[in-house]
């Protein structure tokens, strides 16, 4: 039971951290809860499909199907997060102003929200399909129903708890800085996902590594430790990255930061349709 709980916890934690950042980043957007729930549901359904199609995926591209699949899934998450943060750099101020105003529904939020729904679904799908394969193996191996159910409950429960802890921690950030922080977290998250995608492509011999183990900080913080794994998700930490991973990381980071700045500079004030009756965004603080 403990073995089941541990593996499930580690996978759920990875997905939960991503989901909680997405939840925080979409704070104040109407129907957000519905979108996130739908994302998780779609992700679970997708995880089952991926697990069932595992042998098909494995056979694709002369054995490199898994790597290509993982890389594509990760890179599409990167694209969607990228799209969202760039969009937010335009409308984030508006969102912050409307926050807390009674009955204010932010209409413009839904298109970006659809993207983040997909990000939630992708995160759940990726980690979920591993859980499904693992549990399938456990059932074949003859684990009892109590051990199985207990392990799942314990693993999912504690993983989700960590996600909630991060979410409520983020909510304590003052409204003035809130979207700057969550957008920054999304940018780092996306860069880390891009770096992981590069790692998969190197593993499948689809990309040159441009130097394995450019540095090695595994003595300080190993990839396998809980802290290393958490930082790996949040900021893309890797104790010994290959050169190409750094290139993917830096490129994503640069493109998103430049994209965000470009857009917020070209539109210094919200468009007339979006203009809020409140003059100073900084004066509108929830806390």
């Amino acid at each position: 039971m403990l073995g089941v709980a541990l593996l499930v916890f580690r996978e759920v934690m990875e997905a939960a951290l991503i989901v909680s950042i997405v939840c925080a980043a979409t704070r104040g957007v109407a129907r957000r809860g519905w979108f996130v729930t739908a994302g998780i549901g779609l992700g679970i359904a997708g995880a089952l499909l991926v697990a069932m199609g595992a042998s098909l995926i494995a056979r694709l591209a002369s054995g490199s199907g898994q790597e290509i699949f993982n890389a594509c899934v990760l890179l599409s998450a990167v694209l969607m997060i990228g799209w969202h943060v760039v969009w937010m750099s335009r409308h984030g101020r508006e969102l912050a102003q409307h926050m807390g105003a009674v009955g204010s529904a932010v209409r413009a939020g839904s298109s970006s929200l659809t993207l983040l729904l997909a990000v939630v679904a992708i995160a759940v799908l990726r980690e979920g399909s591993e859980i499904v394969l693992f549990l399938y193996g456990m059932v074949i191996g003859g684990i009892g129903a109590v051990g199985l159910a207990g392990g799942i409950a314990l693993g999912v429960g504690s993983g989700a708890l960590l996600g909630f802890a991060l979410y409520f921690g983020l909510l304590r950030i003052p409204m003035k800085h809130f979207f700057t922080v969550t957008n920054g977290m999304l940018v780092l998250l996306a860069s880390g996902l891009a770096s992981t995608a590069a790692r998969f492509l190197v593993q499948g011999d689809l990309l040159p590594s441009w130097g394995t183990q450019v540095w090695d900080t595994s003595g300080l913080l190993s990839n396998g430790s809980l802290a290393g794994q958490t930082l790996g998700i949040l900021i893309g930490y890797d104790a010994h990255p290959s050169g190409i991973q750094l290139v993917f990381y830096a490129t994503t980071l640069l493109l998103l930061v430049v994209g965000m700045q470009r857009l917020s500079r070209t539109s210094p004030s919200p468009s007339p349709r979006m203009r809020s009756p409140l003059a100073d965004p900084a004066s509108e603080s929830l806390r």
Partner: protein, 109 residues
């Protein structure tokens, strides 16, 4: 801007596949959730191919945090993973789905 990223990825992937054909190959077998051999000597400083064959009726995930690899191995099938070049040293790997028993090391020298 994202398009250029995709284009770059595609370009790089094409150059990547051209590299490294005649690589030395090493084989690991998973049986009863144990790696055989549990210690494998590999060359340092060069890329090589690692084949992991799963002879168990359950899925396994070949994983290493020491040399950054993870790949699912379905029951009664095998996977190929490209590793290295590694510096001389000892690198642990494990079966993520049976960590209690499936443990091994690569010795690069």
């Amino acid at each position: 801007m994202k398009l250029s990223l995709i284009a770059a990825t595609l370009l790089l992937s094409m150059t990547g596949t051209a590299v490294a054909r005649d690589l030395s190959t090493f084989t690991l077998v998973v049986k009863n959730h144990v790696y055989q051999p549990d210690e494998l000597k590999v060359p340092a400083g060069t890329k090589f191919k690692l084949i992991v064959r799963n002879e168990d009726p359950t899925p396994e995930e070949f994983e290493s945090t020491d040399f950054n690899r993870e790949k699912i191995v379905l029951p009664n099938s095998s996977i190929t993973v490209y590793v290295g070049p590694l510096r001389a040293g000892s690198y642990g790997f494990f079966g993520d789905f049976h960590q209690a028993t499936a443990q091994g090391r690569l010795i690069a020298e």
